[in-house]
Amino acid sequence: MIDRREEKEERKMKLKVYADRMSQPSRAILIFCKVNGIDFEEIHIELSKRQQLSPEFQAINPFKKVPAIVDGRFNLFESHAILIYIASAFPGVADHWYPADVSRKAKIHAVLDWHHLNLRRGAAGFVLNTVLAPLLGLPLNKEAAAEAEKVLTSSLSTIENIWLKGDGQYLLGGFRPSIADLSLVCEIMQLQLLDEKEHDRILDPHKKVQTWIASTRNATKPHFDEVHNVLYKLKLRLSLKQSSQADGERKSGIKGPIISKM
């Protein structure tokens, strides 16, 4: 009898999501939970303050990374595993997010798997080594940035020409978004931190990609923008900084980059 009561207590315990909204995979999970009306508690782990290294968080995730979840007695990390778990374990999540159909599900797995060493590696590596590193007290690595850019451009081409093939406007020709769309779009959003010219240079050639980002954002509003607010605020702060640097360079007679549009 006692065990059954304990079980009921556990189920009553809310899902806890350990996240930093500056982290692309964290955002995917937060948006997913909000869009699907999942009852959860968001626990902020501030990466810039290295809170992921605390002993408390290490007990949640020995790999010391966000996102991570605790559901009752069960901990889980790796955002794709988390998205799949939530889609499967919580009632009321619409089928298009993670279809029951074995073949469609398999195709979504394929995109999710491809993502790690392609879009994720390229986009995260490029943004880290051109913009974010100084903010995290790390050195900028030009060689790593160049490598990452190659992977990023190649990945965007693959999305444009292969993954976005089909009748619908989502990945794999879907008419409604899946967890793969959410994961990959949140990754690409990190490119917002780049200076306007860089951002446009990288994304402009990929028209389908741009439409797909807009569709995904639209399909998950207002949560998409709400969760991305921290990113937008940082983007603004960075572009103001870039502006004033440019002004300073102009006043001293040195030609600088074009001022970001705001």
């Binding site: 020995p62 790999f63 069960f74 889980l76 990390f77 790796e78 955002s79 794709h80 595993a81 988390i82 799949i84 778990y85 499967s88 374990a89 074995v102 073949s103 599900k105 398999a106 195709k107 797995h109 394929a110 999710l112 798997d113 491809w114 790690h116 060493l117 994720r120 590696r121 693959t158 292969i162």
Partner: protein, 252 residues
């Protein structure tokens, strides 16, 4: 009935071996179609139709063409009847844990092991220049991954990943990645693997649980290993290899 399963593979590829072993072990009826990477068959128009990303493994099953080995393993576990639950449990929580290690694998063990082996042995073997910097970077990732396996992923009562008593598709995938280290110089391989006792035990347990198919699918790798050992012996004996002057003979 979905029709025949075709598996496009090269047995020198780690994820290909995982799929072949899984199919044979589970009595899945399929045709193995060899795609010789060394001969660039993966770049042919015929294969590009099967997988536009031009990578092995890939499968064709009825109307479905699928690539990415973890997606394939998960698909096979679900689409074919009679596959024991421990390979990819239906329990949502156990499955989630297996998914998390399959995800972790890409940027960790796979990235470290593959790049290290390519930059020290397999790349030079097909005429690619050695890249000691890439090898050093990859080695760091490889060692860190082995440490995580030893101290975190292999924690628990059972001898398989996540403390399980029976292997899952994660065990098969990761062990097939580690067997690629067989082509390394014996001392190098020993240096890298010997600190990790649990990992070494786990590789053996997975091999035992999946024999004779494990041995069969690794035959080509063992032959390649022998060939490399003989080459290294010849170089050591003739003393012409100036960058690897250890003066000892490889065990054969």
């Amino acid at each position: 009935m979905m029709g025949k399963l075709n598996a496009y593979v090269d047995r020198m590829s780690q994820p290909c071996r995982a799929i072949l072993i899984f199919c044979r072990l589970n009595g899945i009826d399929f045709e193995e179609i060899k795609v010789d990477i060394a001969k660039s068959h993966h770049l042919s128009p015929e294969f590009t139709e099967v997988n536009p990303l031009q990578k092995v493994p890939a499968i064709l099953h009825g109307n479905l063409n699928l690539f990415e080995s973890h997606a394939i393993l998960a698909y096979l576990s679900s689409a074919f009847p009679g596959i024991a639950d421990h390979w990819y449990p239906t329990d949502v929580i156990r499955r989630a844990k297996i998914n998390s290690i399959l995800d972790w694998h890409h940027s960790n063990l796979r990235y470290g092991a593959e790049i290290y082996v390519t930059n020290t042995v397999l790349g030079p073997a097909i005429g690619r220049p050695r890249n000691p910097k890439a090898a050093a970077e990859a080695e760091k990732v490889l060692l860190s991954s082995l440490s995580k396996l030893e101290n975190i992923w292999l924690n628990g009562d059972g001898r398989f990943l996540l403390g399980s008593f029976q292997p899952s598709i994660a065990d098969l995938s990761l062990v097939c990645e580690l067997t690629q280290l067989e082509v390394l110089d014996e001392m190098d391989r020993g240096r890298i693997l010997s600190p990790y006792k649990k990992v070494l035990g786990w590789i053996e347990d997975t091999r035992t649980a999946t024999n004779p198919y494990f041995e069969e699918m690794h035959n080509i790798l063992y032959r390649a290993k022998k060939k490399f050992q003989q080459q290294r012996s010849r170089i050591a004996e003739s003393g012409t290899e100036t960058t690897n002057n250890r003066g000892r003979h490889s065990k054969m």
